[in-house]
């Protein structure tokens, strides 16, 4: 591989990784508070549709991505209410998450119909960062990235700092590890969990908007194509850590990028190579589980378990 195609490969890798990263972060925030939300795919779809529609109508990508995040957060209210305040069982959290997937899909088809299949390039502009752009290879890879791609990686850093370096993050993790103890320390378990689900949903919506506005620059029905599930798989891979999530999404960005590099090898190859990004997580999941069994797991102890104050021991 010559230098030119290496740079092209890395550019696609960084871009594809950014499409997954905020969604993975959203799932991490949600799960760290002890709540499961399987609806990532649906929230991303609604975010992608809303973001593109608003960006397309107003011509402003900032409004677009804000609308995408808001739509994601709003959809997740329908998950947070029964899960946090309704205290539904773990099984019902699963089913409600699945409902969110298909409700988000159906809603995005319903409201996205007028905006489907338009292509509008250049909504999100390429960004040149003064010093970085002059570094030899890195600069050339970054020169091809749009503004929101940078934001995705900054978000990972922010989520890491908030979760692990602030009191707020400590409280959130306490709620996910041991809600009874957190409660007796005066931490408002329900408020933290509710907020985590909504903020998580906003991050997932952001990921959807980033995908439609910056990466494919269009909206079609079912645009996200399973990336929400890959993001969910990456949570385990990342051991619930935002910086590991960044590493994981870059790896899976590489799988997507490899797909483009290998296309046109034989007739119909693009369909068969399209399997690659889906097969890769399936093959790597067992290895990850092995890794987790020997290392300290970052999985929240109270994940998926409703908290009843009256059962506090």
């Amino acid at each position: 591989m010559d230098l030119g195609s290496l740079i092209a490969f890395l550019a696609v890798l960084v871009r594809s990784g950014a499409g997954l990263l905020p969604a993975t972060l959203g799932a991490i925030v949600t799960e760290k508070a002890g709540v499961t939300n399987l609806g990532v795919e649906g929230v991303m779809l609604l975010g992608a549709m809303t973001g593109y529609a608003v960006g397309y109508v107003t011509g402003n990508p900032v409004l677009g991505i804000a609308a995408a995040s808001a739509a994601g957060g709003l959809l997740c209210v329908s998950h947070a209410l029964p899960v946090v305040f309704g205290r539904v069982s773990q099984e019902r959290q699963f089913v409600l998450g699945l409902i969110l997937v298909f409700l988000g899909d159906a809603l995005s088809r319903l409201f996205g119909a007028p905006y489907a299949n338009h292509l509008s390039t250049g909504l999100d502009q390429r960004l040149r960062i003064p010093v970085l752009a002059d570094v030899p290879i890195v600069g050339e890879v970054l020169a091809q990235q749009r503004a929101l791609i940078y934001v995705a990686y900054v978000l990972a850093l922010m989520v890491y700092l908030v979760l692990f370096k602030t009191r707020l993050g400590l409280h959130l993790r306490a709620v996910g590890e041991d809600p009874a103890t957190a409660d007796s320390m005066g931490i408002r378990v329900d408020a933290y969990r509710f907020t985590a689900v909504i903020v998580g949903g906003m991050l997932m919506g952001f990921a959807g908007g980033l995908f439609s506005l910056s990466i494919v620059q269009t909206w079609t029905d079912g645009l996200i194509g399973g990336r929400g599930w890959i993001a969910l798989g990456l949570v385990t891979f990342a051991n619930w850590h935002p910086l590991w999530a960044m590493a994981g999404t870059l790896l899976f960005g590489g799988f997507e990028a490899a797909q483009f590099r290998l296309a046109a090898v034989f007739p119909g190859a693009q369909y068969l190579l399209g399997i690659f990004p889906y097969l890769a997580p399936i093959v790597t999941l067992p290895l990850i589980s092995r890794r987790l069994s020997v290392r300290h797991s970052g999985a929240p102890a109270a994940l998926g378990r409703p908290y009843f104050r009256e059962e506090r021991g």
Binding site: S89, R92, F102, L285
Partner: protein
């Protein structure tokens, strides 16, 4: 679950209209329909006229009935297998993939032996579909047993893999050269088609569907296997203390749910379309999740729900024709109904727990709940 104590679970369930599950079902359905009616009203349409159009579009004419039955047949097969998986708390959401692979396997047999006798090929197509669907569905099962990989993610991602394989075949190697660019295979030899009632979409797959529902009902209600599936669904820990082989049950439910999904796929290509096309499953593998959850994982009630959901989907196309409402409306309504039902049940249970008469009910859901 990391509980150190095993809480006693009521095996005998409260039945009848006052049980929280049934009560919640109706509360949720009513709530969702009410919200939907307001939504339709807000869009400037008469909800009663819309309802009438949906029912008419589902069951009102022979065309409508044909549309409905075409979706009912695969849904019966898909949902009866899924009941077993969900009862064992094996979250197999990969039935769309198994259905696709089943359709591909059946098509492969038909296309590679175009001149063989029909009495041999037709059963062979069904057999291939059953085996392929079962093997496909076994992958998430084995990965769960062997590595503890979450089956919900593995099975879902495999759907995309199956769909890409199908796309690859219908767009390239199996594409009908006389198909005017249409992404599909050539029509199969008519000897391979499943028997079909004249002028209708009722094909032999309906018999398989009804047999599947009956078999699953018998298994759950009359055999020790059914009891074991329910016990494992109540908690792996309890099952271990009872000496049940959880792995074996997971293998069993993933095989059966995949086999029936494969059969559903074969029904689509051998009974209905007579060829493999892109998007042959119509995402019915996902719809089956909705059907079994609405059906409270009870075989006959689920079968009834399969008919109703199939009707709503085909009636939904009428909304587009008559009211210019987007076709996705039916999908929104269906999932909103399930959302209402799940929450209605939780609500009814919580109210029941608060009253002395409901003391026997555990806060955790009883087996067979969605």
């Amino acid at each position: 679950m990391t509980d150190t104590t095993i809480r006693p679970q009521p095996v005998v369930r409260v039945r009848g209209i006052t049980s929280p599950r049934v009560l919640g079902w109706f509360i949720g359905l009513g709530g969702a329909l009410l919200v939907f009616a307001l939504f339709v009203l807000a869009l400037g349409n008469n909800p009663l006229a819309v309802l009438q159009a949906v029912v008419g579009g589902a069951f009102g004419s022979s065309v409508a009935l044909n549309r409905t039955i075409a979706r009912t047949i695969p849904l019966l097969l898909l949902s009866s297998g899924l009941i077993l998986a969900f009862r064992a708390r094996f979250w197999n959401i990969g039935l769309n993939g198994s259905m696709y692979i089943g359709a591909i396997a059946a098509s492969g047999i038909a296309l590679s032996n175009p001149n063989a006798p029909g009495w041999l090929i037709a059963p062979l197509m069904l057999l291939a579909a059953v085996v392929a669907g079962a093997v496909w569905s076994l992958i998430p099962g084995l990965m769960r047993i062997g590595f503890g990989a979450p089956e919900i993610i593995v099975s879902l991602l495999l759907n995309y893999v199956a769909a890409r394989i199908g796309d690859f075949l219908v767009f390239s190697y199996w594409k009908d050269p006389n198909g005017r660019g249409f992404p599909g295979t050539a029509t199969f030899n008519a000897d391979f088609w499943l028997p079909r009632l004249d002028g209708s979409n009722v094909h032999f797959g309906l018999v398989f569907g009804l047999l599947a529902v009956t078999a699953v009902w018998l298994l759950l209600a009359r055999t020790i296997w059914g009891l074991e599936i329910d016990l494992i669904g109540q908690g792996a820990r309890a099952a271990r203390y009872l000496g049940l082989n959880t792995s074996l049950v997971i293998v069993f439910v993933s095989l059966v749910s995949g086999a029936l999904a494969g059969l559903a796929g074969a029904g689509e290509v051998a009974g209905l379309n007579h060829r493999l096309e892109a998007g042959i499953t119509q995402d019915l593998g996902y719809t089956a999740i909705l059907v079994v959850s609405l059906g409270l994982l009870r075989p006959w009630f689920t079968a009834l729900c399969a008919v109703l959901v199939a009707g709503l989907l085909s009636g939904g196309t009428q909304l587009q024709v008559q009211f210019a409402l987007p076709a996705a409306m039916a999908g929104v309504l269906l999932w909103a109904i399930l959302y209402g039902v799940i929450n209605g049940q939780s609500l009814a249970e919580r109210l029941q727990i608060a009253t002395p008469s409901g003391r026997a009910l555990s806060r955790r859901s009883a087996p067979g709940e969605g």
